[in-house]
Symmetry: C6
Subunit: 248 residues, 6 copies
């Protein structure tokens, strides 16, 4: 492991990317519904804060914070407690907003006319400075892009987001939804190559059951292992099995 | 069953989702024509009211109420009687409207210029308050989206609907039609991830006959069983068979 | 046969739908070129009038009446004679119009600027009242939709048509053309779920020959048989074979 | 052969359609490049005039007349001689026009701003009257549709053409080009059902060679044989082999 | 060989088209990148001038002349020398233009606002007259179409080009690029049937290697051989093998 | 090796293209995410400068220079050192810009309104002159095209870029991203034939692992080897294996 990268906190993943994500860039995590993108993002922040001493910012543009927090309890991750201890900040830009318990308030949620990427970035900058955060998760680019009427506009805003997050040297996971047939893939064309790396969470239906596989599709500056690795949801969150195969 | 969720009322389904739907969110039920979406929705409300003591609101944007009520009689579900006993309310926003027997009148049905999601929500709020309803069914998002000339506008209105229903803490099923080839899937892209869960009702044509299978594609905060489960229409409505397989 | 529905007049079909079409709704009959949609519609009206004592209205938006009438002679159905006896009315809204022998005159045919669904509905209402008709056939929605420049406009007009026909309690067949690849399917997306039922007339090319199969895809309020049933053109019109299979 | 229809002049075809085309309607002949649509059309007129005593009008919107005439010489069909004897008229609306030898002059060819379907129809009417023509060929609808900027406009003009030709009681072949993948099929959606019949000229590539097959897809008022019939170019033009099979 | 057509100059091709291209028309040569369209065009002119005594005009809308000339040197074809001897003219309308050595100067190259098909045709007419040219190559229609913002405009200009070249009685090859999946095919829909013939240069990937095959898809007035014929690049340019097969 | 072309610096590639790229033209290098396009480009410049004495200009429109430089360190290529010794220039037009260490400053990066291809070309010209550069890499056309709202505009700008680089006689690699399904291929239609050559970097997923293969799809003026050649990332960068096969 020659890389002094940012540990993913996902068991089995770091050895596929020479020890961790190169520090300070944005990485896309792309998967279909139910593929575990939010779990992946929360695990990155939770383990970052508790195992690697790196604080983080979770930006939600989809689910309200209490929903994410509740859902992560099943892995024993108490994100609210972590937030109280100022290890993480959860920024709520979800369309379904509630009176925030966070110190960091985004003025307008997704789906309102007042929402802007500039406003969102302002709050991220504020939270990053106060916490001295090193990690960030944006959940999700798909939600963000639906705010804009045409593809060009969405792309420009995503570009601005990536640019600013990279300038802030935050190691960021950009969660993005793609159907199995990748119908929506076009919308994120820009992400695929503006991101420093792309991780796919595949879902294969083999007969009656579903098989999940993680693929590191691109990781700049890192010698990656080019294979499909099965992954699963365990009590400790997502675990990747780099030695196993998907198709016998 | 550690989950204290909302029982689906569909035999065989709850065990796939740790005992029931997490309370207070919206869930998409997606299927082709003839897949039984309306049966699924009516069963959720009927059994909710009669077996679990939870009142419900059925919002129809497609069929007129008498058609739904008649059709459900074959399962022995008398929805009008339930409405008379104030266990449920059937809100008629269908294009083919008739003098309503309901106390809760939506001012304009789908397909008229006066129709609006705001108007629809106003009546849902009123009915929810008076009944103290816990459950809701919207039949269907597909019909709603046809009211709008472009995809962006439809998406914004669906977002508003989901946001308000979630704020009302109604456990809601959003019925949505998708062709087998999912041609219309794009239109509901937003639903796929704004909903807290997605259930697919698949229809496979194997030789001359048709096989039906339910798949829990996503269910936030719940450890789901990732397999295709055959389902069928019985005298008691839809029954799911979690132990059986679709393809031998 | 517990259903007191409207007999289809197509041998072999009623047993697939619990005895007949539930009365007073619209049903889509979808098939490719040469699949026999017009035969299906004429058979529904002819047998309705001669066998079941129910009068009917045939609305043609494609072929001129004399062409339909001539073509049906090969099954021994004399539609002009039936019209003279006031058992049926043939309303001519076809682009190729001739001096009408009908009492019920639609002011402008398809393809002219004066044509409107409102005008069409006015004549249907008039004919329905004078005849006391119970059945209706609209041949075809595909032709109707070509009158409109965009999909949204076409959909609104089709919705208006279905709404009014349902309010008139006419049991109506809406004929619709769909290529085998269903290229035009989108245009009728609204029909698929606004109609109370959908019947597909499939055409499979197996080696050098063509095999025809009827599928009841959806029939609200009725327990349908979910299989592909071969059908054929006989001297008595279309016959469906529910006991036979398409693929060995 | 109970049908007293219009003999196609194509050996082997009439027996597939009960003896000939029902008189006075338009029929689409659809095929890819090189499938022999022009040969089919010329054969229909040549044999019509020489074998069945029916005069005809050939409208070319693609090739200049001398090119068509020269190409048909290989089958021994001298169309110019036939025109001199006033058995047929060749109307030149091709983009590449030359001083016409025909008495019937279309004012403007395809691709000029002056071209109009009305102008075209005017000349057809004139030629039909003077010759007392019974048959017509329009070569091709594909060319005609390229004159219009959008699909709706093209469709309206094609509708007008079909309407007027039917009113004139001309038995007409409408040649239309469709790629094997039918990419352009949409453009002719209207033709598929406005035409009284549709004949496909298929081209299958089996290993290194090409196999041709004719299919009568639709023929209103006629009991058609639903199979793929191989066809070939012989010294006498196209010959169809109804007893043979395409795929062994 | 009954045809007194224009020899293609491509060994093995003439016998597929009854001895040569019918004189005075336009023929499309369609193939993917690397299929040898430019070689085909240059070979047609070079051999035309040196073997058959027919002068020619090469119109380049893609590569600058020096690039084409250099590339053809590997087949021993010195096009500059031929131009000096006034056997051919190379007209430069490429986007990357250089001070022309040709007497025939096109005022503006592709990609400038001043470029027009009229201007291009003016220079072709001038060169044709001075040389008394019989042959022409347009390289390529694909490049030409990119000059126009929409498909309709491109099509009108291509139509004008074909019309004028045919009026000039030049036997012309129109080179056109089509991806293997024919994504761009639509754009040349007009070419497919306005051209008197269409030759496809196929590229099949069989395992690790690439197999090339020529197919005469259409050739009006000529009895063509309907099979895929392997072709290759030899020291003398393209050679077609009509007796061999592509797929064993 | 009769070609005195520009050595690619990629082991195994030159023998596929008669010794190197013909001098002074643009070549497209097309591949999916993670296919190694940036490595290919950097290797071309690094080896060009250190092994073949040819200076080069690297234009980045995606990653900031420090990211590229860091990533190439794993191959032992110190691009900053090379830049200090004035062997190469790295021009930063990336959206995420930093205070440049380069002498050659592009006024505005991609994604700003001030960005223009003219501005970019101005700086390339300046760097080329000062260094006497022979080689150039543009990373990437995909990023560039996202700057423009419609395809036509993007194409015109790419055309201008290719034209100017060719006029400067720079041997240039144009990196372009194409998904495996080539969804974005259309956008680069112009590149495919304006470029003098096209190299594809394929990624095949065979069971659980990924196989990479280089294909020289087109190379004008060069006799290319038409096969898929496996390639890999080694300590010395990309190595192509012309003697090996991809599919057994």
């Amino acid at each position: 492991m020659k890389n002094d990268g940012v540990n993913s906190g996902v068991q089995g993943l770091d050895e596929l990317i020479e020890g961790g994500f190169p520090r300070g860039f944005c990485y896309a995590v792309v998967g279909g519904p139910g593929s575990g993108k939010t779990v992946f993002g929360a695990q990155f922040l939770y383990n970052g804060a508790t195992m690697y001493g790196e604080k983080g910012v979770y930006v939600t543009l989809e689910e309200p914070p209490y929903s994410i927090v509740n859902n992560m309890m099943r892995f024993g991750w108490n994100l609210y407690e972590l937030e109280n201890r100022e290890k993480i900040a959860i920024l709520d830009a979800s369309p379904i907003r509630e009176p925030s318990r966070s110190k960091y308030v985004i003025k307008a949620g997704l789906g309102t006319e007042e929402f802007s990427v500039d406003g969102l970035l302002g709050t991220i900058i504020e939270a990053k400075r106060k916490l001295d955060a090193k990690r960030c998760v944006v959940d999700s680019l798909t939600a963000l892009s639906l705010q804009y009427r045409d593809e060009f506009e969405a792309r420009q805003q995503i570009l601005k987001l990536i640019r600013t997050l990279t300038e802030m040297r935050l190691t960021t996971l950009l969660l993005a939804e793609a159907s199995e047939e990748r119908t929506d893939a076009q919308r994120f064309g820009a992400v695929d190559f503006l991101a420093q790396g792309v991780i796919y969470l595949h879902t294969y239906r083999i007969r009656d059951s579903v098989v999940r596989a993680l693929e590191v599709r691109k990781m700049r500056g890192v010698k990656t292992v080019s294979k499909l690795c099965p992954y699963n949801f365990t009590e400790d969150g997502i675990v990747v099995y780099p030695q196993e195969t998907v198709f016998k």
